[in-house]
C-alpha cells in the first residue's frame, strides 16, 4: 500500500458529493490513540479547529458615509472613545484596546461589540474645514444599518501557542494574562490545546495568505502574516513551537459577524480587549497532515513564564494535558492552573465549523501565497534625540 495522498480538489469533490469525513481536532486527537497517521489519513478528509480567546491586536475599519455638506473627519470619538481618523475623510479605525478617557473598563472593543449587536453609537467628529470638505463639526448617531462598511482587520490574532504565566513576587499582578496571585499561587494559560488552529498545521502547509477562516461567526480571510510573526522559536519533536510563534492578520466583514463570537472584555488594571472566535478547516492531504491534525494535549507543550521578573523569563515547561488538569506540580508544589480562553466555546466553534463544511457553507481552498519561512522578532532600542539617527 503506497502512501495516501489527497488533493484539495479531491477533498472538495468529496464534500460536494456528501461523502467527506469531517471531524473536529479534538476527535482527531482521540483517534490518534488507536489509529496510525496512515489510517487517519485514509479515514478522515477534513479536521476543524477553534479557539475563543482574547485577541488584543484587533480593530475595525468603518466608513460612516458623507453628510451634506461633507466633512474631513480628523478628530473622532464614538461614545466618547477616541477613534483613529488619520485616514481619508469618513473612514476611521476603531482599535479594540483604545480606552475611554474617563471610563477605564470601556473602550474600542465595546464599540465593536455594540455595532455588531446592532446598537446605535453617538459619533462626534471635527475637521479643519477645506474647500472640498467645508463642514467642521458633526454630531450624530450611527449603527450597522447606517454605515457603509464595517471591516474587521486585526493585525495580530490567533497566536500559535502562548506561554503560561505565573508570579513569584509577593504582590498580586494584574496582567493581560489575567490575575496572577503572589507566591506562585496560580498559573494562567491561554490556548485551546489540541483544538488550537495553528497547532494543527504547525508548518503552514494548508494555512497561508488568502485562506478562508471562521472569523467572529463570518467567513473571513487571512490577509497576511500577523505582526510579530516568529519562525525562530524552538519546536518540540511534534513540530509544536514551545512559546508564542506565528500570528495571523485576519480580515472579515463585521456586518456578518455574530455577538456569540465577538465579545468585549476588560482585564483589570490592564485595559479593554476583544474575545474572538477563530477557526480553520484543515484538509488531511497525507500522513504528515494526519499526524499534525491529530496532535494530543500531552504532545503540545508550552513554557511557563514568571511575570514577576523583568523580561518574563521561562522557568519550566508544561504540556496542555497537565495545564488543563487543573493543577501543575512545580518544584514539588501543586499550583492551580486556569485557562483564559474558553475551551467550551472552542469546542462549539469546531463543531459549528464541521457542520458548515459538511453543508458546503465554508469553503476549503489552498493559500494564495505561503507565510514567510524566516521571520524573527526585533525589540526596540532606545536612543535620545541628542544621539541622533544613525
Amino acid at each position: 500500500m503506497g502512501e495516501i495522498k489527497k488533493s484539495w480538489d479531491e477533498i472538495n469533490q468529496k464534500i460536494a458529493s456528501g461523502s467527506a469525513v469531517v471531524i473536529t481536532a479534538e476527535e482527531a486527537a482521540a483517534m490518534s490513540k488507536e489509529s496510525s497517521p496512515a489510517e487517519i489519513a485514509k479515514k478522515v478528509d477534513v479536521v476543524t479547529t477553534g479557539t475563543f480567546g482574547a485577541m488584543c491586536s484587533s480593530g475595525m475599519f468603518i466608513n460612516f458615509g458623507h453628510p451634506e455638506p461633507p466633512i474631513r473627519m480628523e478628530k473622532l470619538t464614538l461614545e466618547g472613545v477616541p477613534v483613529f481618523g488619520g485616514i481619508a475623510a469618513v473612514d476611521a479605525y476603531i482599535g479594540a484596546t483604545e480606552v475611554h478617557p474617563d471610563i477605564s473598563d470601556f473602550g474600542g472593543a465595546h464599540l465593536i461589540e455594540k455595532l455588531i449587536a446592532g446598537e446605535e453609537l453617538f459619533l462626534k467628529a471635527q475637521g479643519k474645514g477645506t474647500d472640498c470638505y467645508p463642514r467642521k463639526e458633526i454630531e450624530t448617531y450611527i449603527s450597522k444599518e447606517t454605515v457603509n462598511e464595517m471591516i474587521m482587520c486585526n493585525p495580530r490574532n490567533a497566536y500559535q501557542n502562548y506561554p503560561a504565566a505565573l508570579n513569584s513576587t509577593n504582590k498580586t499582578l494584574y496582567t493581560y494574562m489575567g490575575t496572577l496571585l503572589p507566591s506562585m499561587l496560580n498559573i494562567n494559560y491561554s490556548t485551546s490545546g489540541c483544538l488550537s488552529p495553528l497547532l494543527n498545521d504547525p508548518y503552514f502547509r494548508t494555512i497561508g495568505i488568502g485562506s478562508p477562516v471562521f472569523f467572529g461567526g463570518a467567513v473571513g480571510s487571512i490577509g497576511w502574516n500577523g505582526t510579530q510573526f516568529n519562525t525562530k522559536k524552538p519546536r518540540n519533536e511534534n513540530g509544536i513551537p514551545l512559546s508564542n510563534a506565528a500570528t495571523l492578520m485576519l480580515i472579515g466583514n463585521a456586518k456578518e459577524m455574530k455577538s456569540d463570537w465577538i465579545r468585549a472584555a476588560y482585564y483589570y488594571k490592564y485595559g479593554t480587549t476583544l474575545y474572538i472566535g477563530v477557526g480553520f478547516a484543515i484538509p488531511v492531504l497525507d500522513e504528515d497532515m494526519a499526524k499534525h491534525i491529530s496532535v494530543r494535549n500531552d504532545q503540545i507543550e508550552t513554557t511557563i513564564c514568571d511575570y514577576g521578573l523583568a523580561g518574563h523569563p521561562g522557568i519550566a515547561k508544561a504540556n496542555y494535558e497537565e495545564l488543563m488538569s487543573g493543577s501543575f506540580a512545580l518544584n514539588g508544589k501543586k499550583i492551580r492552573t486556569a485557562p483564559l480562553s474558553s475551551y467550551r466555546k472552542a469546542r462549539v466553534l469546531a463543531e459549528e465549523l464541521k457542520q458548515a463544511v459538511i453543508a458546503r457553507n465554508f469553503p476549503l481552498s489552498p493559500p494564495a501565497r505561503f507565510f514567510p519561512e524566516h521571520s524573527a522578532v526585533k525589540g526596540l532600542n532606545i536612543r535620545t534625540q541628542k544621539e541622533g539617527n544613525k
Binding site: 489575567g178 496571585l181 494562567n188 483589570y268 485557562p339 483564559l340 467550551r344
Partner: protein, 137 residues
C-alpha cells in the same frame, strides 16, 4: 450547620463587643474569615457562625439586627451572571475557597456560593464583569 455572614456596623450605633456576646450569650461558634475594621469608624466582618441548633443562630441574628448590625448571608452576596459568562475560566485560578471551579468534562464554570469567603478575586479576574460582591456594604 455553619453559615457565612458579612456583619457590618459603625461605631456610632454599636458599642458592644458583638463577637464576645455571640459566643457567651448565644452559644455560637464564631470563626473570623476576614475583618476590615477602621478604628472609631466602621467594621465589616466576614464570619462563619456555627451552632448546635439553628434556632440559636436565628436568635443571634435577631439580636444583631436589633442593635444595628447588618447581617447578610454570604451565599446571597456573590452574584454570577451566567448569561454573560463565556466559561473562559479566568476566575477559577484565583478562587482559593473552591467556590468557583471548572467542570473538566463540559468545560463549564460551576459556582457553589456556600463556599464563598468574599475575597473578591473573581470580581477582578473576570474579563466580562460576571461577578459582583458587596462586602461590607
Amino acid at each position: 450547620m455553619a453559615q457565612k455572614y458579612v456583619l457590618g456596623y459603625d461605631s456610632g450605633t454599636v458599642s458592644e463587643p458583638i463577637l464576645w456576646k455571640l459566643i457567651k450569650d448565644f452559644n455560637i461558634e464564631v470563626n473570623i474569615l476576614k475583618a476590615s475594621i477602621s478604628p472609631g469608624l466602621e467594621g465589616s466582618l466576614l464570619v462563619e457562625l456555627h451552632a448546635e441548633q439553628n434556632v440559636d443562630i436565628e436568635k443571634a441574628l435577631t439580636w444583631l439586627a436589633g442593635i444595628g448590625v447588618s447581617c447578610v448571608s454570604v451565599a446571597k452576596r456573590l452574584t454570577w451572571d451566567e448569561e454573560k459568562c463565556v466559561d473562559c475560566g479566568s476566575c477559577t485560578g484565583v478562587c482559593s475557597s473552591q467556590t468557583i471551579t471548572m467542570n473538566r468534562e463540559t468545560w463549564k464554570i460551576q459556582v457553589d456560593k456556600d463556599k464563598c469567603v468574599a475575597c473578591g478575586n473573581c470580581v477582578k479576574a473576570c474579563p466580562f464583569g460576571c461577578y459582583t460582591l458587596n462586602f461590607g456594604e
